[in-house]
């Protein structure tokens, strides 16, 4: 009886020690929050936040090392979702609320070099070698990567014209002084 209990106890302590050490030594540094944040970002790796890509920005966000206001393609919706997720109050002063934009190719300047097509991560530009390229406005998410690579400066960002479907009533002036 004493032998049984003793041997089991010894085994338990030894195996526990082995497992504990292994967990420490072989641990993969990993933050589940990062993945969740990555899910919320547009995933286009445009780099406008100043990080290399969305994963790096997500890592910085998870550590609390970057503000939530750095993602222009995500817009206000993403900022609000991130702020809610991370439990922070977004500093909207840092976020320049730009009007929705879309890339536009000047047909007179395009030489059909394909560089923008290689750069566009949402397949929003169509064209062939030495043929005119054009932007599919619905698929463009205004990451501006194509603007940077165009050798003839044929691409510029244009504000989308206001549309009736996107219009909504403004917030009334603030009369309610409690």
């Amino acid at each position: 009886m004493l032998l049984d209990v003793g041997s089991l106890a010894v085994m338990g302590v030894t195996l526990g020690a082995v497992l504990g050490t292994a967990a420490k030594l072989l641990a993969v540094p990993h933050n589940p929050l990062e993945e969740e944040i990555l899910e919320m970002l547009p995933g286009s790796q445009c780099g406008q936040c100043g990080f290399v890509g969305c994963a790096q920005y997500a890592a910085a966000l998870a550590k609390g090392a970057a503000p939530v206001t750095l993602c222009p393609p995500g817009g206000k919706g993403t900022i609000e979702a991130l702020a809610h997720k991370l439990g922070v109050t977004p500093d909207m002063g840092q976020h320049k609320e730009t009007v929705p934009q879309v890339a536009f190719i000047d047909e007179d300047l395009c030489i059909g070099c394909l560089r923008c097509i290689g750069e566009c991560c949402s397949d929003a530009i169509v064209g062939a070698p030495k043929q005119l390229h054009t932007v599919i406005a619905d698929a463009c998410h205004a990451c501006t990567k194509c603007v940077k690579v165009c050798p003839t400066e044929a691409i510029s960002m244009h504000a989308l014209p206001p549309s009736i479907t996107a219009w909504h009533w403004q917030k009334p002036g603030d009369p309610m002084r409690h």
């Binding site: 547009p42 995933g43 286009s44 790796q45 393609p73 995500g74 817009g75 206000k76 919706g77 993403t78 609000e80 979702a81 809610h84 991560c121 949402s122 397949d123 929003a124 698929a139 998410h141 206001p162 549309s163 009736i164 996107a166 219009w167 909504h168 009533w169 403004q170 917030k171 009334p172 002036g173 603030d174 009369p175 309610m176 002084r177 409690h178």
Partner: protein
Amino acid sequence: MKLFPIMGGIHPEHRKDLTSEKAIVAMPMPATLFLPLQQHIGEPAAPTVEAGYLVKKGELLARSDGAISAPIHAPTSGRIRAIAEITAPHPSGLPMPTIILESDGKDEWTDLPPPIDDPFAAPPQSIRDRVAECGIVGMGGATFPSAVKLGLGTQRKLEVLLLNGAECEPYLTCDDRLMREYADEVIDGARIMAHALGAPRVIVAIETNKPQAIEAMAKAAAATDNVTIAKVPARYPMGGERQLTQAVTGLETPARKLTADMGVVVHNVATARAVHDAVRLGRPLISRIVTVSGGAVPNPGNIEVPLGVKVSELLAFCGGADGAARFVSGGPMMGQPLPSLDVPVVKGSSGILALTRAETRESEPQPCIRCGSCIAACPCGLVPMQMAAFIRAEKMAEAVRIGVQDCVSCGSCTYVCPSHIPLVQYFRYAKGRLATQDRERRKNEQTKALVEARNARLERLAMARRDAAARARAPQPETAQEAGRIAP
């Protein structure tokens, strides 16, 4: 008939006597008509004509484009001048693609589809097809394509078609006059709709402040066996779909459900007349009755207006509108301000109001005194003052939690507020904000799907290239054999 109480509601001054005794008069055809491609909820119609085309009255100008959409027809014969961007009858004042039709003065009809002789023997689908083909939309102002709404009975067991003749908005009398002057057509249209829906009964609900309409409709309904008239008390917003269903059947529609889930489908009386015209005469929807009223209009009245007439011309027909402080499309409670008088009358224009300063009751908002009047007035059982407080602080999630999405924007809370707080304006803003957020989220998801598809494709291409390179390095024996067989 036994009626049931509804929650909340208000009794605004009805001001219907300005136009209720004026018979419907037809407006003469103007020289030019402006037909926006979107006069309904859903996808805009797709034009089937181009500049320079000659069209006859009733001819198709733009076809329905999508499951929820409606076609547009020519209100008179003439020549298409252009399809251009024109200011839309929408509070934003933004332009919308619009077909511009120059009348040739002949007003010649095109070859209309043949009348359906015995609609009650025809399959319900053929009625729905005819209604869709004729471009009929909900004419109470919501402008939802009627054919889609007439298909609600295909998946559900419906009990009642509730015909909405409540007309609870102040000033408006177009439905009142329609029921008095076209009672037979309305009842016939309603019975055809009930057949298309598969609903055995029709109940016509009319507010008690329209005794002549009740009398005329009861007379027309006497000849039928499945139509009854319900005299509902005059209280705003009795004409709301959910409120009317509750008042007549006692059934409360749960949030985010349809009245059809309770076995009731609500259609407007003017829609019933349009269905009658479409089925019995083959006529598309090319005109509607509009109440032109308000203190600034010298000769207010109910006018049968061809669609596409500019509001300025319609007002001129009624003697102008000098001294108006505000122009409204629809009723004063739920209508929308008109950005300009150069916008056309569309399928959903139930009224054009030119209101004087005395009628608009503008006053400076004061702080909320938490009196609770708005809670008592809300027909949806919401707490407007709390929702407005959340929205003021941009706490949209909180506002949604207490039901801002269930608000029907009837404006009762704003009407009763002793502090003149623009409560319903807050809710309109919140609903717009939420819709924008939703759109942004969808756009993000779409971008993500595109990025992932591209990455997968690049991965596939890289793999194919690797495989090809590997094959090139080590020529496979069977390939050599095959080559030998083909070229000996």
